[in-house]
C-alpha cells in the first residue's frame, strides 16, 4: 500500500527553496542556513489516547502537526520542514485526503514543508517530526526562569479538557450555568474546535525571544507544565488560580470550581506558558496585541521549588481528584 499513498502525499506537499530533495527517496536532503541552529521536536498521536477514535481525519491531520509546531513555538523557532510517519489499519484514500486537508492547511499557514516520512500498516497512529530554525542563543528553554519573573500564559486554558469532559459525559457541565439550547450547543462546538484544532502560538513564541526567560507549551496541564519549568530552572512558582484566562464558552458550560480544575490541570491546551522579567510587561502586552493573541499574567517565579496555586484569599488551592484528567498518555 505504501507507494500509492506516498505518491498521493507527494503531489500535495508544499515547497521551499531550501529543500534539496523532498519526498520520494530514502531520506530528505535539506539546506540549513548559516547562522541558524536546528530545532527538532517529535510528538506522536495515537487513536483513543490523544484524540477520540471518532475524530475527523482532517482534525487528526491538523492536530498532529499543531502539537509539534507548538513545541517549535515554545522554543521561539521558525518552522521549516516536517516528516510524517503514518500507521493506518488499511489504505483508505478518502481518509488520507481528509488527513492531508487538515495537515497541509496548517503547514501552509506556517510555511513548513512536508519533506518525507513513511506509511505503514498498524493501529491508527501519527508521528510527526518538526524542524525549525533559530538564531544561536535566542531559543527559549525551560531552564531560564528567574526569581521575580512574572508568569504568563497565552490564550485561554481548559477548553480542550472541557470538550473531552463534555464528550465523556454531557451532564458534567453545570446544569444551572447552561444557557438554553443553541447557546450551549455553540459553546460546546467552540470547545470542541479548541480540542481538535489547536493554534500553535508561533508568532508569539518567536517574538518572545529576547523578552521571555523561559517558555513551555501547555500540553500536560498548566500546573504540570509550569512545574517542569520550575524544576528545570531550580525555582518555584505561585499562580493565582482565579487569574487563569477562561474562554466565554468555558464559562457558559462550566461552573466556578469545575472551571478551575479544567484550567489548572486539564491538558491539550497548546498555549504557551512563559516567564519574563517585570520590566518586560509592556513588551509582552505589545507582543500579544501584535499577534492578536491574549496574554495574561497569572503569577510569579519565587525562590524554592514546586508550583503553588492560590485562591483569591491567598489560600493554597489544589486540583481535586475527581477532576478532568488529561486524555493524553
Amino acid at each position: 500500500m505504501e507507494f500509492d499513498l506516498i505518491a498521493r502525499i507527494r503531489a500535495r506537499a508544499g515547497q521551499r527553496d531550501d529543500v534539496v530533495l523532498g519526498i520520494g527517496d530514502d531520506a530528505a536532503i535539506l539546506r540549513v542556513p548559516e547562522g541558524r541552529h536546528l530545532v527538532v521536536a517529535t510528538d506522536a498521536l495515537n487513536a483513543g489516547v490523544h484524540f477520540p477514535a471518532a475524530t475527523a481525519a482532517a482534525d487528526i491531520g491538523w492536530k498532529a502537526l499543531a502539537v509539534n509546531l507548538s513545541d517549535l513555538a515554545s522554543m521561539a523557532a521558525q518552522p521549516a520542514w516536517c516528516m510524517l510517519s503514518l500507521s493506518l489499519p488499511q489504505a483508505d484514500v478518502d481518509w488520507i485526503d481528509g488527513f492531508l486537508d487538515g495537515f497541509l492547511a496548517l503547514a501552509a499557514q506556517h510555511g513548513i514543508a512536508l519533506v518525507g516520512g513513511d506509511t505503514t500498516r498498524g493501529p491508527l497512529s501519527v508521528c510527526v517530526t518538526a524542524h525549525g530554525l533559530v538564531e544561536p542563543g535566542r531559543a527559549l528553554r525551560r531552564d531560564g526562569a528567574r526569581v521575580g519573573d512574572d508568569v504568563w500564559v497565552t490564550g485561554s486554558l481548559g477548553d480542550a479538557a472541557a470538550a473531552l469532559a463534555l464528550l465523556a459525559s454531557p451532564e458534567s457541565a453545570d446544569g444551572h450555568r447552561t444557557e438554553a439550547g443553541d447557546a450551549a450547543a455553540g459553546a460546546s462546538a467552540w470547545l470542541r474546535l479548541r480540542l481538535d484544532r489547536p493554534q500553535p502560538r508561533l508568532a508569539v513564541g518567536a517574538a518572545l525571544a529576547g523578552v521571555a526567560h523561559a517558555c513551555i507549551d501547555v500540553s500536560d496541564g498548566l500546573l504540570a507544565d509550569l512545574g517542569h519549568v520550575c524544576a528545570a530552572s531550580g525555582a518555584g512558582a505561585e499562580v493565582r488560580v482565579d487569574a487563569l484566562p477562561a474562554s466565554d464558552a468555558l464559562c457558559a458550560r462550566f461552573g466556578h470550581e469545575a472551571r478551575r480544575e479544567l484550567q489548572a490541570a486539564g491538558g491539550d491546551d497548546y498555549e504557551l506558558c512563559f516567564t519574563a522579567p517585570q520590566e518586560m510587561r509592556d513588551a509582552v502586552a505589545g507582543i500579544g496585541l501584535e499577534a492578536a493573541v491574549a496574554v495574561t499574567r497569572i503569577g510569579r517565579i519565587v525562590a524554592g521549588d514546586g508550583v503553588r496555586a492560590c485562591d483569591g484569599d491567598g489560600r493554597t488551592w489544589r486540583p481535586g481528584r475527581a477532576g478532568y484528567a488529561h486524555f493524553a498518555g
Copy 2:
C-alpha cells in the same frame, strides 16, 4: 508515565559536541556544521507488522534505529542525531531498559546521539527520525542510475525473509536440504539474527559517494527496491537471479527455488543495492574489502523500464505467488 521514562532514557543517551540542547525540553537544539547538508529519514516499526510480537525488547530497539540508519547509509550520509517516539501499552521499566540496551548499543557504534522524542500510551510502536550530514552534491539518490551501470548489492539477501518463513512454518525449509540437528538450529538462529539485528551499511554507503550513481536500501525486497531506482532514474535493469548472494545459513535451510524467492522478493534485508559505472568495479571491490562487507555484482542498468530477472539460461524468472511475503506493511 512520561516523565519517569524520559529521565531513564536521558540518563543513558549518548553525547555529541554539536548538541546544544538534548533530551528534556520541548525540542532539541542542534548545530549543523557549515558546508554540510542535513539528511533526514523517518521509519516506524509496529508490533506484529514489522517484527513478530514476541521479539525481545533489545532487538526491537536495535532494529528501530537500524532501519533508519540504513536509510542514511543509502544516501551516503554520516549519522548525527536521532529522535525516538515510543508508544507503549504500559510503562514497563524492564522492557524499556532492554529496548535501550539494543537501541543505544547500535547508536554508540555509529556515533549517533539520541536527542529527544516522546513516550505515549498506545499499542507498541516505535517511530525514529534519524539525522545525518553529507557534503552538498555527494548524497546518493535513487534517480542517478545510468544505462550501462553495473548493479551491485551488499551482504547476502533473503535471510530476514527466511527467518520469518521459518517462524511461520518450520517445515517450510526443504527437508532434504536440512542438516541434522545442531547445524540446522544454528543456521536458523543465524537467520533470526539477520532479521532482528540488521547491520546498517554506513561505511559502505559513505565510501560509495563519488563512486556509485544511485543507491537504495533493500527493505521491500530486491526486485521492488531496484524497481524504485529504475523508476526514479528512467531506466530498466536486468539481474541474474542466480547471482544474488546467499548466506551459508540460507543455503543450509532452503532449496534452490525457495532461496530465489527469498532473495529476490523477501524484504527486511537492509542491504544496499547500488549502481556504478563499469570502470568503478575495482573501486567498489576495494570499498567492500575495506568495510569487510561482501559486494556482489548482480546485473546491469539497461534502456527501458522495469526490472527483469533471468535465470542461468537467460529466461525471464518471476517470483512465485507462493513465496515468502514481505512481513512489513
